[in-house]
């Protein structure tokens, strides 16, 4: 198992203001699986995603990612997990002062054993794979929403992460570019045998999933298997 969550509880606030968000989540995802997570707002999808990605500290239950226990972990462990995880955000979250190519390179600069030319080469390859070979030196503000999200996908995949975490990646895109973006994501993830956990409200993209998990009120409500 790449992601193994067991009896995870999480609440915001403290004392009488405690607001439980996750109430005993169990979720296991195999290597190479593409899992979509849906559910109404406030069901705790995003919170679960940030805990799995090592961005939020949980103190109850068990969250084992790539063999590392994240519950009550230290900063080093979390940073280690973050480096093996690619993130795709709802807003593209590209660095606005960097070109598409430089943005993708930011992922690769975390890998110190690569030379500058290797980084450039790999970033160009992955940008070409998302169909942006002629937009490499554009700044984000000169790109369309769909193009930005594809740069964001390239950035997440460039480091060849073992896990991709995505939070509503198609929310700000129109139907066609949204579908194109997740198609590219799926195709590249399958090539690299990357595990994907994708939170979405967008039922148009459910067809890319191997499995759909539905969250409601901090609990896994149903697991549907796609055939």
């Amino acid at each position: 198992m790449v992601i193994d969550v067991h009896n995870l509880n999480f609440s915001f606030g403290s004392g009488s203001l405690t607001q439980p968000v996750l109430k005993g989540i169990d979720l296991a995802i195999r290597k190479g699986e593409i899992v979509l997570m849906t559910g109404p707002s406030g069901s705790g999808k995003t919170t679960l995603l940030t805990i799995i990605g090592g961005l939020r500290q949980a103190s109850n239950g068990s969250v084992v990612i790539l063999g590392e226990q994240l519950v009550n972990s230290n900063e080093q462990t979390k940073v280690k997990i973050r480096r093996q995880t690619g993130y795709i955000f709802q807003q593209h979250n590209l660095l606005k002062s960097l070109t598409a190519l430089q943005n993708v390179c930011m992922t690769l600069e975390l890998q110190r054993d690569l030379t500058e030319s290797e980084r450039q080469y790999r970033a160009q390859q992955i940008l070409a794979a998302v169909g942006l070979e002629d937009r490499m030196h554009y700044f984000p503000e000169a790109l369309s929403g769909g193009q930005r999200q594809r740069v964001s996908i390239a950035r997440a995949l460039a480091g060849r992460p073992k896990i991709i975490l995505a939070d509503e990646p198609t929310a700000s895109l129109d139907r066609q570019s949204g579908h194109d973006a997740v198609e590219i994501l799926k195709q590249l993830a399958k090539e690299l045998n990357t595990t994907i956990l994708l939170v979405t409200h967008d039922y148009r993209i459910l067809d890319i999933a191997d499995r759909v998990v539905e969250l409601e009120d901090g609990l896994v409500k149903a697991v549907e298997h796609q055939e």
């Binding site: 709802q90 979250n93 606005k96 600069e109």
Partner: protein, 389 residues
């Protein structure tokens, strides 16, 4: 290699973020430039003041100098008996001694007739007390009654003396006493005197009728070649009365400089100005860095989510501070150099741009920017990757 890597990437990212908005960068740079110029001018004026204070003693040709202990600075000396100086001749290592007379006097400008105060030096021309060629070559003429030499570097308010001499107009009054100007020499003015004239000891006593030859202002002692000056100084010290102080050449320069640094409040004023300039610059840089971190905090949080450690962003902030220091310093140095030239032409006191001064200011500016960086890094805590989804 690892240090290069550790600093190279955050520095490059800091640079790319800074140059992305050229207008903001220009504003930030001019803030540093402003502080830089302010500090340069304060230090420049201070050094010019100290240098000019010692412009006359710098030309002294002697080994040891006697000054009355009540003399706070050379421009307002207390007199002591000439016999005190003559006693030094009793020491076998002393080759010769010579008295120097000096006093402030009014000088009537050749063109406007306006009277203005300058410094009059009087000594036996044969002793060559001042190591200035233009004076040495005219020592025979200076023996003539009522003759003086005029310092070309005096302030222009004394009139275009060189030109008027060429036109044959060479008579004026010093201390209401008519004298003939023989020619000019180059010495330089100080904050105490706007100009200088040199004359013989006898002429000095004619210009100042209430002075007498037995009351001298400075006693100059020349030693036999090859003797150890500090040793002779100590031996003479034991022979002379306590009311005279005995200085070596270096000590007399230091004595003059320390007067302006400490006794006069001028040193404090310039140091205060320097510190104020640095504080203002620091606040500007802090504001820039703070705003920069604030604007980029979502990007920083994104990078944190990607696995960048907190220390990466701390290095970025310091790299930004360093880049701003360099970008502000380089034009600041160029601008200050030309302002030094402008000031030289206005106040007639040399203000050289030395490597030492440039280096000092650079260290100050670097310190200023680093401190601003230290104050700004707490803002990095606002970049929380958990808020990114």
């Amino acid at each position: 290699m690892s240090i290069v890597n550790t600093w190279f990437f955050p520095t490059r990212l800091a640079w790319r973020q800074l140059i992305h908005d050229r207008l903001k960068l220009a504003a930030a740079t001019s803030g540093v430039l402003f502080a830089c110029v302010l500090v340069f001018m304060q230090l420049g004026f201070k050094d010019a003041l100290y240098a000019s204070a010692a412009s006359m003693p710098l030309k002294f040709d002697g080994d040891l100098f006697l000054i009355h202990q009540q003399s706070e600075a050379m421009w307002r000396p207390a007199q002591f008996e000439r016999s005190e100086l003559m006693r030094a001749l009793g020491h076998p290592a002393v080759a010769e001694v010579a008295p120097l007379y000096l006093s402030l006097a009014t000088f009537k400008a050749l063109d406007t007739q306006v009277k203005r105060t300058l410094m009059v030096y009087g000594y036996d021309p044969d002793t060559d007390l001042l190591n200035v060629d233009a004076i040495k070559t005219r020592k025979r003429e200076l023996r003539v009654k009522d003759t003086v030499l005029f310092d070309e570097y005096s302030r222009p308010e004394f009139g275009p003396v060189s030109n008027m001499l060429e036109a044959g107009q060479n008579r004026t009054e010093v201390n209401d006493y008519k004298v003939t100007i023989l020619g000019v020499f180059q010495l330089g003015i100080s904050f105490a005197a706007d100009g200088n004239i040199v004359t013989s000891d006898l002429n000095f006593l004619r210009i100042f009728p209430n002075r007498n030859a037995e009351e001298i202002d400075v006693g100059v002692i020349r030693l036999q070649p090859g003797v150890f000056i500090p040793e002779i100084k100590e031996e003479l010290r034991a022979h002379l009365n306590d009311f005279v102080k005995i200085y070596t050449y270096e000590e007399v320069l230091k004595h003059e400089r320390l007067y302006w640094e400490n006794a006069a409040p001028i040193g404090f004023i310039f140091n205060f100005g320097t510190i104020m300039g640095l504080i203002v610059g620091m606040v500007i840089v802090y504001q820039i860095l703070f705003t920069e971190i604030n604007n980029y905090r979502f990007e920083f949080a994104t990078l944190k989510a990607m696995g960048y450690p907190h220390s990466y962003f701390i290095r970025m902030v310091f790299a930004s501070a360093f880049i701003l220091a360099i970008l502000g310093f380089v034009p600041g140095l160029a601008l200050s150099s030309s302002l030094y030239n402008l000031a030289e032409s206005q106040i007639f006191i040399p203000m050289p741009m030395t490597f030492e001064k440039a280096f000092t200011v650079f260290v100050f500016i670097l310190f200023m920017c680093t401190t601003a960086g230290f104050l700004a890094i707490h803002r990095l805590d606002s970049a929380n990757p958990a808020d990114m989804f």
